[in-house]
């Protein structure tokens, strides 16, 4: 059509108007996104409460127990008191509890599992009755034998010393907290972006939005910003919880942790965006999200070290975004490493986020 001149624009209804600035749409989108999240009790639970419960549960399950005391029955009779005295003098005196009993009572107690070992004496020397099927019984025999021989004056050819280690920084909970942090950033990024978008698409809300002059970039930016705001709260909650409840020591700088957290949140936001770029129904996107996250739950070292997997898998495992995020968080939180030492992992995260974002924008369906 040849346009000679623009026809006069029809006059619209005359009414009082207000004037909006460039960022009015973005600000409102962000505000409403945060309001919606805040009013969704499930979101509060899964994003904030669930990781804390998980940390609490696993932290308690794998907490440091007081050293085990081995209960031992000593059959009353010849030299029984001597044996008990030897045990009490030995270096193992704190971890062996010896009781002197009649032979019958000792055997009964052993059978019921009350004692791990029955010690009796005769002319030939000391006799141990143990159950090879019970690990603590096997352990008790070695422990008591060693204690007796040592206390009786055995000369050890090599002097040895041991230190029990359950210091903060090397415990399971220390390993766990950064892993949970990473997993939580993945979960909330994938669900918070992916699921939310498909739900809006299914409701035809995305289509309604693009029927307005709303800038599409503002919309996506607001979504990412809301992720970052949540990330701050998620990281702070879990770290403070770890420090207060389990005395986790944060060695690295808080700024570095937050920067890595932000990168993780944005990167998984990108992956979530890609996952949700075309799906029409929340059922289908739920499946997709789980499909994407499942390998990382298993391989990325959230709950246990991925070094246990065969060596050929390790390069692939390290290329996963959650592995990079977990490793970087552990290095900074537990070892106090600097950001510059984590450039490789930062690159992995950036590439995942960047590539996902670009592909998502190309394939994204607004309706």
């Amino acid at each position: 059509m040849a346009t000679i001149e623009q026809p006069p624009v029809a006059t619209g209804p005359e009414q009082a108007v207000v004037t909006n600035g460039r960022w009015a749409g973005y600000a409102r989108l962000l505000q409403m996104r945060m309001l919606e999240l805040w009013r969704e009790p499930e979101v509060i639970f899964w994003v904030f409460v669930f990781p804390l419960l998980l940390a609490l549960g696993l932290g308690i399950a794998f907490r440091e127990k007081p050293p085990d005391v081995t209960p031992v029955a000593v059959v009353a009779g010849w030299k029984a008191n001597e044996v008990v005295a030897l045990l009490q003098r030995s270096h193992e005196h704190a971890s062996i509890r010896a009781e002197v009993l009649s032979a019958a009572a000792a055997l009964d107690g052993f059978r019921l599992g009350k004692y791990a070992l029955v010690v009796s004496m005769d002319d030939a020397g000391v006799h141990y009755r143990y159950d090879p099927a019970r690990p603590e019984s096997v352990l008790a025999r070695t422990q008591v034998n060693d204690a007796l021989e040592d206390a009786a004056g055995r000369k050890n050819p090599i002097p040895t010393a041991s230190t029990a280690s359950s210091e903060p920084g090397a415990r399971y909970i220390d390993f766990l907290i950064p892993g949970l942090l990473g997993m939580n950033l993945m979960n909330s990024g994938m669900w918070g972006v992916g699921f939310a978008l498909v739900e809006m698409r299914q409701r035809k809300l995305l289509k309604r939005f693009v029927a307005t002059p709303m800038r599409r970039s503002d919309f996506l930016l607001a979504l990412v910003s809301s992720r970052l705001a949540l990330m701050l709260i998620e990281v702070a909650l879990l770290l403070v919880f770890g420090v207060l409840v389990f005395h986790v020591r944060v060695e690295g700088s808080v700024a570095s942790i937050l920067l890595i957290g932000a990168l993780g949140a944005v990167s998984f936001g990108g992956v979530g965006l890609l996952t949700a770029s075309r799906a029409q129904k929340i059922e289908s996107v739920s499946g997709l999200i789980n499909l994407v996250m499942m390998p990382m739950w298993i391989f990325s070292g959230v709950f246990f070290s991925y070094e246990r997997f065969p060596k050929v898998f390790l390069p692939a495992i390290r290329a996963l975004p959650l592995t990079a995020l977990n490793d970087a968080l552990r290095a900074i939180i537990l070892q106090g490493d600097s950001l510059t030492s984590q450039l490789g992992r930062i690159a992995v995260l950036a590439i995942w986020g960047g590539v996902s974002f670009v592909l998502a924008l190309r394939w994204f369906r607004w309706s």
Binding site: G12, Q15, V17, V18, N20, E36, A211, T212
Partner: protein, 330 residues
Amino acid sequence: MLQRMRFGCPSRSTPVRYDLNVSVAVQCQGLRKTYDGKVEAVRGLDLEIFTGECFGLLGPNGAGKTTTIEILEGLLEPTSGEVEVLGRNWQTHARELREWLGISLQETRLSEKLTVRETLQLFSSFYQHPTPVNVVLEELSLQEKADSLVGKLSGGQKQRLAVATALVANPKILFLDEPTTGLDPQSRRQLWDIVRQFQKRNGTVLLTTHYMDEAERLCDRLAIIDHGQIIAAGTPSELIERLTGHHIVEFAVSDRPANNGDAWSKLPGVQSVRVEDGLFSLRVNEPHETIPALLAEVQEQRAHLVHLTTRQASLEDVFVQLTGRHLREE
């Protein structure tokens, strides 16, 4: 088949586009939309909607109304054809046009966790010069519900909110896709009032509906769409007059189950006869001439009249006349 009609003021021979008195708000020519290369949703559609009028697209479900309105709204690309809205087209002036249009889509479910006011604040923030939220709340009688969550609204209130999100844009043209579907009569009337108010302020309205009474009462002009084509267009009264005559006489007789209707078509003033489930519908111009003759004929055939009504013809009759089907038939 009926010829497709071109709109325009019948009294003018020159194109009305650049006329100073009657400017065209929306115009499309040869609009076609084919989905996946197979389904032809719209098959060659011409429309001209004037500034300040309320124009209706009337048709049964699946006639292509939504596809048409979404192409005009710039949400769908036509397979072929030209669209011009306020003298601009979507390829070059999308952003500008978005500022000028207020749109209510079919079946949008707004966020349930936001309040009415928050929803309107959100939508108003997208426009450079929106109508203040309070003004819209008042106009749509939503003040009392302003701080209720959208999830707690009734169907009618939700629909009013959907129209409010369109009005908050301070639009020049309002596009409403089936705004009253599924609403109770009172809510429908409320929405009609809203549309009329907007029109009073010189706003242009394009709406789709499959309620003929809605089209009849609300629209200045309308186009009846079936199978992706316009089968008739004009003002509601024009259409009724042109296509059906003014009145419909309906009656049923006993004892004559196999009547073929021949006898009735010869009665004075009868333009056509339809039989449906034993009920005869005569299109007539002057009922007072036809009815006495009808009664005499019944007597002559020794039949008994079991039912007789006469009523003004409606758009429904127009549709039935044109397609042989009812509007609401699935």
